[in-house]
Amino acid sequence: MKELAIKELLYKMADDLLILGHRNSEWTGIGPILEEDIAFSSMAQDKVGQSWALYKMLQVLGEQEPDTVAFTRNAPQFHSCKFVELPIGEYDFSLVRHFLFDTADLLRFDLLSRSSYTPLAQLATKIKGELKYHTMHANTWIKQLGSVEDEEAFQRMQYALDVALPFALGIFEEGPYEQSLADEKIFAGEVHLKSLWLEKIQETLSKTRLVLGDVSLISPELGGRYGQHTEFLQPLLDEMTEVFKVDPTAEW
């Protein structure tokens, strides 16, 4: 039971990072300014690397090797939330997703850095240090664009936030082992994480004109953690796999 619970937790975190990492990398070469191009490429590299480290941890627990796990599964076998698979859209959407997701992920790895499962606690400590740069980047832009005078630019940010929110809430879809993970002090759980997250994003948004919708009235986009995905995941996986199939020994 305990091992199943750990695997489920590792899979969903790794899949989130792998998928969002690949989405972020789609900004390479087309970012609005060179610095942003580099930023999204760097964050993509961080995320794919972090997913790899989690897949390696799964391998130690008896799962297949990272390449196989990453490139030979189909959408229904992925535990990522629907939020990460959505297309990059316009820059405002990608930025809002980056803010909402990375704030949650930093809090998640902060909780996990105190996990009773030592290998995960050690890795989480390291990942936390890297993620600080991601949230720093996101917060800077959200504060800037969320307070912008230009009404059209502001409205686009607000619209992106409204569209993203139900999907962002899907990050916290509860898994089948929440109780077991909490009892074993491995992970405090999605409900707890969500409350920390709400507090944190409100704190940043309060420094802008952006308004967060009433989350008690929004139905979250669930299902991702159980393999139910939008039509956007499978084509992305096919694309990732294609590169892998051409040369399975290529270094990543």
């Binding site: 610095e35 580099i38 930023a39 794919v48 050690q122 390291k126 240090g129 740069y133 980047h137």
Partner: protein
């Protein structure tokens, strides 16, 4: 090939000085803090522990191979190099010698932070060229995972920092 009779840890450390960071060839892995510890068993087996600077560091396998080659070259057959996050890397692990090497290389060394990293730490980094602190953070993400981009308002030059992690 030289076969060393019963080398001790200090001697091995000396040999490993020649293994440099592929991205910053003036910096040894020891000064970088990437080699976290070494031990030798009673049977003479040498174990080197390493930890990546960034989780997604693409050069880690190459660095591991370089360490193994240096041990090989010095006649150490019974050896193991282990990569883990047991002691996660932080830029606070850089030695003084390493910091000086970075500066000479034209990279601002990371400030010591004791795990408190915020924007303040990245603003007003000392310029490696003119040592002014009248500098601006351009982006926390540079050409490689370990660098950030800055601009010096004093000497009007762009520079990079080895970023605090």
């Amino acid at each position: 090939m030289v076969i060393h009779q019963n080398p001790d840890i200090d001697q091995i450390k000396g040999w490993l000085e020649e293994v440099k960071d592929p991205e910053i060839p003036v910096l040894s892995l020891l000064d970088m803090g990437v080699i976290t510890r070494m031990e030798m068993s009673d049977e003479g087996k040498v174990t080197v522990h390493m930890t990546p600077t960034f989780v997604g560091c693409p050069a880690m396998e190459a660095m591991k191979k370089n360490v193994e080659e240096v041990l090989d070259k010095n006649g150490i057959r019974n050896k193991q190099v282990i990569i883990s996050f047991e002691e996660p890397w932080s830029s606070d692990r850089l030695t003084e010698k390493g910091r000086e090497a970075l500066l000479k290389f034209g990279l601002a060394p990371p400030p010591k932070h004791g795990q408190v990293i915020d924007l303040d730490l990245l603003e007003h980094v000392e310029c490696p060229y003119c040592h002014s602190k009248n500098t601006l953070l351009k982006s926390p993400f540079g050409p490689t995972l370990c660098r950030s981009l800055h601009y010096c308002d004093n000497c009007k030059q762009a520079f990079e920092q080895f970023k605090p992690v």
